[in-house]
Amino acid sequence: MRSDVTTRVLGTLSIAALALLAVMALVVTPADVNQLDAVRLIYIHVPLATVMYAAFGVTAVASVLYLLPRTRARKWDVLAGAAAEIGVVFTGLVLVTGSIWGRTTWGVWWTWDARLTTTAVLFVLFLGYLALRRVGGDPDTQARRNSIAALAAGIDLPIVHKSVEWWRTLHQKSSLLDEETFLHPHIHGSMYWTVMLGIGAFLLLFAWLLIHRYRLAKLEDRIEDEDLERALAERRAEALTGSP
């Protein structure tokens, strides 16, 4: 089957890329002058964050497409849901790797670094979105509500980002230990390419996950439609037997 080839290729490609990344990140690239080897966490932390934004980007675009009457189709809502779920998984990982990194440099599990804080708000925001998706109701109204919620969360993102950044940079001037230089050390040469490799690898993985998650959601939808057809048939039978 055609499409199974693409996912298989995509799957093997992303695994190969991730393996290469691991080697490059843990062995080949040099340690950082201040952080020593802890800097190696950047090779997964930054790519995870990139995919996080990509996933929520897909959700936002799909939600807009669903809301536009011309392009309205259930598949967009299904895609939005699939991408959002993957996005939340990646956001969780960004927070985990971020806090581990914080631990290595300040001995504390959580630093109110602008980007980490924004990610935390994003995490809760889209957990709410996923909760809303599971509430149920008839497909059309449910899909419309999901799309509006996704956009409402989407337009909130830049505001959260801006406010948190101001908050941290204002605070920053006073503290000696400048979180900025530590969490975003100057990367050069092979380190830069490894981060790029990381982003590429994780994007491939994201594509693979999205296709499969999308198909799973389509199946779930189809099974719901099956139940609907059966209910419709039973309902029609009711009329013949004269019960309510």
Binding site: A38, L48, L219, R222
Partner: protein
Amino acid sequence: MTHVGYLIAGYGATFAVLASYAAWIVSKKRALARELPPEERDPRWP
């Protein structure tokens, strides 16, 4: 090699979570697929 523990934790957690998430998707897809007539089993890309 410093912070080895943290590196293992970071990389380990990331790959473990992603691998199990991928496995969960595939297994659930197989489980649901059995309930559907074969020709509808693998819906194409939109």
